[in-house]
Symmetry: C2
Subunit: 137 residues, 2 copies
Amino acid sequence: MSAQSLEQKCIEAGLKMTEPRRAILGVLSHAHDHPSVEEVYARAKKKDPSISMATVYRTLGLLDELGLVFRHEFNDADFARYEVSDEHHHHLIDMDSGKVLEFQNEDIEKMKQKIAKDLGYELVECRLELYGRKIKK
Amino acid sequence: MSAQSLEQKCIEAGLKMTEPRRAILGVLSHAHDHPSVEEVYARAKKKDPSISMATVYRTLGLLDELGLVFRHEFNDADFARYEVSDEHHHHLIDMDSGKVLEFQNEDIEKMKQKIAKDLGYELVECRLELYGRKIKK
DNA sequence: TTGACTGCAAATGCTTTGCACCATT
DNA sequence: AATGGTGCAAAGCATTTGCAGTCAA
């Protein structure tokens, strides 16, 4: 997703486009990882040195509410990580490096639906995280 | 799982059996829900009024390390919930009531293994939580 | 006896908020 | 001009920890 389009979505959502926000949106759009708030702050600070943590927290909160980003709290750390909303996927966390891989699986999606339905529930959201270690060859 | 056997496991693990611990273990053994630390504290306090939150936190931490309880952080709250380790299962959280249902699914277990393996990883642990709303008939 | 355990209160660390000032629309 | 956004510092909250006293083994 390009920086342009994320900015566009924010404007369409009625957000004012300020310098700090542009910096944060740029960081998120170009991130290929799942940065923590601290990391977003550090990267955004390079574009706009006057930015504050409070603004980063507030902006990420807004984006999350709008569904433009996803907030994750993986088991390997007690702080949140973010990523721009994209196609639906789940995560595998490398327990040694902390690196996060993404995957999709149609069968699991169907299973989730079925399990919820069988329990008498409509599935609204879900969290599936695998934690593992690289297999050495 | 009976209170007796959880106490037994703690003793076997080398823990000293004190009044506060007996109270906490009793609470956990008889809980049919997934109580928060605060809830464990409140219930344990009825058996041993002099107990402190610090001890509840420390004890739950020890039990978690020993693998005798599982610590969960569901999306609907920002505090931890605990349950006595039992057969492997996952959770469906009722988004309206906060109630937690448990389920098992052999197919999903196999898929998890396969997905991790395909990504070149050995699956160590996993988190699967469904969030939904009761279907009205 | 002695190392493990405890309660208390203070400290931690992520996140949120009150406030006064400022900028986008 | 008006509303929403911002930085700063203080507050919140779940959880952890230092310390001195206490207790199970």
